[in-house]
Structures are given as structure tokens and as C-alpha cells.
Symmetry: C2
Subunit: 340 residues, 2 copies
């Protein structure tokens, strides 16, 4: 049988209450007693019992806040589905989930919503906009005692406890790896990225280039265009690419705008001659896979991202466990129509 607070109390000849105060840093303990108790607990290898914690947690009425820049992005529909499904399991532990979504990269709005949540939640799951003001606001919440987990996108040098998402560089590497096989090592590739301002997109491109240089010297990267994750814009830039490069036989779609790119290919009747690798599996992307326009897509486990972020938060709030790894990285998977 493992060591408990009660046992430590007996051994130290003090009450469980005091041991609890020490082990949970609640203060109001004489320094000597504190040191002594800590030593004993350490020595005996005390590990809090998750079931006990969970049972006691019911009274706390914990709230997990979720703040996502997700509106109009089908990827996040899945993330939210994972969060909701997991949240239902947690009601028995007295945990409630409060989800707020927003649309577009509006730094001020994200900070505002975080301010609102500051007094209402015990933890926050967020896909932060990459901006110093958001970073500072996150740090502010953390200092206020809120447990913050970033999901899908991380924010550098912030005090967030954990990041749950995929490895962007590896996503690009994987895209190039499969494209190399599909093209037998020879391709003239057009690239449609989301934005040069989004580091995740740039990382994917860097990963793609890295494998290209290492494994596929016959690959030729024609040009990189920005779609701003917008289908219309994607349609326009792809049309330009097609006109400019008659020889183009592959397209790497780094981010959103998949549908727009495909419509451009179809519009120029080049969709059967060009191999397309994209990311994620939005409904329109799936449709384009069924029409054999998109050949393969790289999948980032959106549902699992939501679920795992919730599990990390739950483990902390209810069981008092801090995540083992500060980055929780999911694999990039390759999907064809058959294993979607």
C-alpha cells in the first residue's frame, strides 16, 4: 500500500491538516515543521492518490475555459468536438467547460476575452495568436494561478504549462517524403502557403525544403505564393502559378485555401496532371480527394488534440499532476481516401 497523508501525519506526530497545508503550499505552518514534513514526505516517496483528490475536488466546482480562434475553420470543429466529448466525462468530477470562440486574428479581442475569463476559470485552453500582447496576457493569467495549455499553436517564451499539437517542421518533411514517392523523385513544385507571417506555415515549408535537399535533388521548387488561407485568394494565386509554369506537375498546399487551389486546377483542366499534397481534412478537402484532385493530405489529429489538451488540464486540476512533457506532440499522419 502506498504512502498517504495520514501515514505521514502519524509518523511526524502531527495532524493530517498540517501535512496537507505543507504539501499543498497553503502556508500557515511553522518553518521547522514544514521542513521536517517535506523531508519525511520526500523520503517515503509520497505520491498523492488521484482517486482521493478527484473525490475531494467535487466541492471545488472547477471550470476549464477554452478560447479558440476557430470560427469558420473546420479543423477546430474537430478540436472542439474532442474537448466537448472529454468534458462530458468530467462532469462527475464537478468540472465544467466554458468554450468561447472568435473569428480572425484579432489580438485585442483575444486579450479582452482572456480578461473576461480571468476571474471565471481555473484553467485555460487556448490557440494563441502569435503576438507579444497575447503572450503577456497569458503570463498574467498564469501569475493569477490559472493553468494555461496552448493547443495547435504554441507561443514562445510564455509561462504556459504545456503545448498540445503537432510538429510543423515534421509536417513539411512528411509532405515532401510522400510527394517524393508519388513523383518518383522528379517534380516541379508550386507552393501555396497561408501567410509568411505565420510561423507554423514557414516551418512546414522549411521542413519540406530540408527533405527536398537531402533526398530529392531532382525536385524543383518553382515559387511560393500566399493564399491568406482564403479560397478566393488561393484560386487567384494558383491560376497565376498555372499560367506562369506550364511545366508544374505538383502542388504543395501548406495551409488553408485547399478548395480554391483545386478549383483553379480544375478550371485550367490540369487537375489530373498535377499531384497535390495538402494539410488537414476539411469537408471540401475530402470532396477534392474523392474527385482525385487532392492525392494525399497530412492529418494532425484535431480531435485528439482537443481530447489530450483536456486530459492534461484535468490531470492538473483534479489529480494535481503536472504534465511530464512540456510539449505534447502528435504525429503527422498521411491520409488517402481509404483511411480518412
Amino acid at each position: 500500500m502506498a504512502i498517504t497523508i495520514k501515514k505521514i501525519a502519524e509518523i511526524c506526530n502531527i495532524s493530517r491538516g498540517t501535512v496537507d497545508r505543507v504539501l499543498n503550499n497553503r502556508g500557515k505552518v511553522k518553518p521547522e515543521t514544514e521542513v521536517f514534513i517535506r523531508k519525511i514526505a520526500e523520503q517515503m516517496g509520497y505520491e498523492p492518490n488521484p482517486a482521493g483528490k478527484a473525490l475531494a475536488a467535487k466541492k471545488k466546482k472547477l471550470v476549464i475555459g477554452v478560447l479558440l480562434v476557430s470560427e469558420g475553420n473546420p479543423f477546430f470543429d474537430e478540436v472542439i468536438r474532442g474537448i466537448r466529448a472529454t468534458g462530458i466525462e468530467y462532469v462527475a468530477y464537478g468540472v465544467r467547460v466554458s468554450i468561447k470562440t472568435m473569428c480572425g486574428y484579432d489580438v485585442r479581442r483575444q486579450c479582452e476575452l482572456m480578461d473576461e475569463m480571468k476571474s471565471e476559470v481555473n484553467a485555460l485552453i487556448i490557440n494563441p495568436i502569435s503576438d507579444i500582447r497575447v503572450c503577456n496576457k497569458i503570463n498574467e493569467l498564469v501569475d493569477h494561478g490559472i493553468f494555461v495549455v496552448t493547443v495547435n499553436t504554441d507561443i514562445a517564451n510564455s509561462k504556459r504549462a504545456c503545448f498540445v499539437g503537432s510538429d510543423y517542421t515534421n509536417g513539411g518533411e512528411t509532405a515532401c517524403g510522400i510527394m517524393g514517392l508519388l513523383m518518383k523523385g522528379h517534380a516541379k513544385v508550386g507552393v501555396v502557403t497561408g501567410s509568411f507571417k505565420v510561423s507554423g506555415h514557414n516551418q512546414r515549408i522549411a521542413g519540406f525544403k530540408k527533405i527536398m535537399e537531402k533526398k530529392y535533388p531532382e525536385f524543383q521548387l518553382l515559387e511560393i505564393m500566399e493564399s491568406e488561407d482564403d479560397d478566393i485568394r488561393a484560386f487567384e494565386v494558383t491560376t497565376k502559378l498555372l499560367q506562369k509554369y506550364e511545366e508544374m506537375d505538383a502542388v504543395f498546399i501548406v495551409a488553408g485555401g485547399v478548395y480554391g487551389v483545386c478549383r483553379a486546377l480544375i478550371g485550367q483542366a490540369r487537375e489530373q496532371k498535377i499531384t497535390v499534397v495538402s494539410f488537414d481534412s476539411a469537408p471540401t478537402t475530402v470532396e477534392m480527394m474523392k474527385r482525385h484532385v487532392v492525392d494525399v493530405t497530412i492529418y494532425q489529429h484535431p480531435y485528439t488534440q482537443g481530447r489530450d489538451a483536456m486530459q492534461v488540464v484535468f490531470a492538473y486540476l483534479v489529480n494535481g499532476t503536472t504534465p511530464k512533457k512540456e510539449r505534447h506532440i502528435l504525429k503527422n499522419e498521411i491520409k488517402v481516401l481509404e483511411n480518412l
Copy 2:
């Protein structure tokens, strides 16, 4: 706040003990009282609290038995890793894991080991040999009150509570899907299966054929050979295939023997001209991917299979939850070197 046993007891004006006896089918309750209590519980939507159950479960010293035909099969090394890692999390709940492994498809031995475990475990995770005697033995354990979960391979018409594994047919479909893309729809395919006696292997072949007929009419399936999951045998049959079919430009490896197949390809200096799709990522398979002999491999999440099987068992034993779905199916993923 959710409804508890205590509340039901108050409402019914009887003791918690009696309510507990009813709700957990322990008998020794007057039929009328039983009916009444059940009605109230139903009405109020009683759901046992997992934390309470977990806490009380500590005294039971539960044992999860694991019986795997796994020796010499690297796929199961990963399954076991998932089981072990998950098991460690469960010691705090008084749950112990007892793993027995065996080698080769020895029905009598598997039944013997199940007999041994019958009196020692509260649940069993097993990859059953497809045989009526094993099926009967499983039913015997279930009738004896043991919660049985099959992992990786299911056994038809048994009383097992849940199956955790992948969809074999879809695995074959996925293999054909990606091969179709790699070969631009034109291939003369040699197939090396494990055994015609193993239904999972046959299902994969059926899935492959299905997509072939539907999507790739130009595919030609040359011949199917059995390797008996043995590298030497695989080497031999592949060598024969190579000699017989000069035109062969693709190989579909349905099960084990990947290394043997690859060595044959290398031996005949055909490895660069032939596209290879295999299953799983044994160390030798990874090596052959690095040497560009195997192009892609289909991945069945072995670690996750182990982990999820444990979670299903835990939820039942400790939280009293029966699995929502009787089949817990993991996706078939496509792996290249970059996203292994």
C-alpha cells in the same frame, strides 16, 4: 450536484446498504424493494461516481491479466509497452498487471494459461488464437465473472466484452489506395501474405482487391504466396515470384516476413524498380525503409492498442463502466520514413 446512492437511500427511506445491493446486483433484497429502488434510480438518472468507485476499489486488489501470443513479434513489443505504461498509472488504484506471453499458435498452451489465470485475475486482455477451443475457454472465463477484452485479433461469437484493434479490411484498402497513387494506377503486383489460415490476412487481401477492382482497373494481381510470417520462407517465395514474373513492379506484403521479402528483392537487384507496401514498423522494416526498399508501411497503432485495451478494462473494473462500443477500432495510418 449529481444523484448519489445516499440520496436514493434517503428518498426511498431505506439504507445505503440496500440501495448498493440492488444497484450492484448483490442479491439479498426483497423483490418489491428491489423493483422500487431500481425505478427511483432509473427515474433520477443515477450514474455511479467514478471517483468514489475508484477510491473504494483500492481495497479489492484487482488484477488485470494479459495473455499474448507475442514472443518474437516486435509488433507486440509495442502493445506490451502500452500496457505496461498504462498499468503503472493504475497502481495508485490498487490495480496490478500480470503479463504472460507465449510463442507460436499453440491452442492447447493458450487454453492452459487461461486456466491458470482463471483464479488469479479479474480481467483478461488476450489476442486469441482463432480456434473453437479458445473461444469456449473465453466463454468459460466470462461466465466465471472475468471481464475479457480481445486485442489486435477478435474471436467471433465469443462472450468477450470488447475488441480493441484495427480494421483489417480497411488496412488492405488503404494499402491499395496508396499503392494506386504511387504507381499512377498501373501495376503488376506480387502479394506475399502470412497464411491463408489467418482471417486477418485474408481480410486485408480482400480489401486490397476491392479497391483494385473499383479504382484501379489497370492493376494486375500476379500471384499470392504464403510466407508463414517467416523471413526465410518469405525470401524463398519472393525469389520465386521474381523469377516467374519479370514484369512485376510492385509487392504488397500483407503480414510478417518483410525483411525476407526485401532481401530477395535486393538479392535480385530489383529493389529500386519495385514499389513495396508493407504493414507495421518492425525494426527491420524501418531499416528497409531507410534503404528505400520498402516505400510505405501501414501502421496499426500498437502502443495505442495496448493502452486503450487497458483503459477499457480499467473503466470497467474500477469505475464500473461498460464500453460504449463493443468494437474499439483504430485507424490504419500510412507511414513513410519521415513520419514514423
